[in-house]
Amino acid sequence: MDLDLGVLIASQERLETALSHVVHPERTQIFLMDDGVCAQGAPRLRALIDAGAEVALCAQDAESRGMHPYDGGPRFGSQYDHARMMRDAACVVAATHAGTTKSRPAGPRRRIGVTLTADPRENPTATVQALRSAVGYLGCELDVRIKLGSRALSLLGDEPPREVLRHLSTLRGLGTKIEPLPGGPIDVEVIW
């Protein structure tokens, strides 16, 4: 399948906005994570699956919310599905609680900008989800840049929250730039 569109949905409230970008379901991949997995039974999503869209969700996020797979529903996948979608889709829509972006990267080698806007001490969940996504992107050999908004700058300090330590260590070990906004150029943006 030529992948025209990849849609990341990490916020249940942004489901309809994100899905409004779908034109050709048979050439669309959708990935649900964070509380976006709560939308797994949404009628619009079911209709897109029936129309040929490939829909997967983060099994870890779903199981942590007591969810289980069901016939005709999204496949219980992993961050590999997410990363591969970011790598292969001609156009990427990313919908999180922080906002929705639409990117149309040119060329096969793409730089993914993961922008953190929340204070990790106040909202560790968003930060954890952003950083684990970024680790997944590296697993698909994507070039990742972590960009920090003013409220997220504490990640550069000596004592980031415990929940993010492993992800930060991995990202740094794999040579990922973690820098304040605006940072360098990127091709695909995901804002958390």
Binding site: C58, F76, S78, Q79, Y80, R84, G136, S169, L174, G175
Partner: protein
């Protein structure tokens, strides 16, 4: 040559990232045995292996663990994840 990677207790995305890193250390044609205990990982790790061009020979279950045998068929390059 064959190698074993025990990912018991490991969480996504480190299941497929660590698998990929371990494969980097092997030669083409070498076999890797990956052990996981999270049922979705028993499907998703093989999926990532096939997606990256490797051969999945078998997936077997013994008790609460899954044993995924794969053969390295392609070269990739990452650095070191912990």
């Amino acid at each position: 040559m064959s190698a074993t990677l025990d990912l018991t207790g490991e969480v996504c995305p480190y299941t497929f990232v660590r698998t990929k890193l371990r494969l980097e250390e092997l030669r083409l044609g070498d076999e890797l045995l990956v052990i996981v205990d999270h049922p979705p990982a028993a499907e998703n790790v093989p999926r990532s292996l096939r997606g990256e061009g490797h051969e999945v020979v078998s997936v077997d279950k013994d008790g609460s663990k899954f044993y995924i045998r794969a053969i390295k068929r392609k070269s990739h390059r990452l650095e070191g994840a912990t």
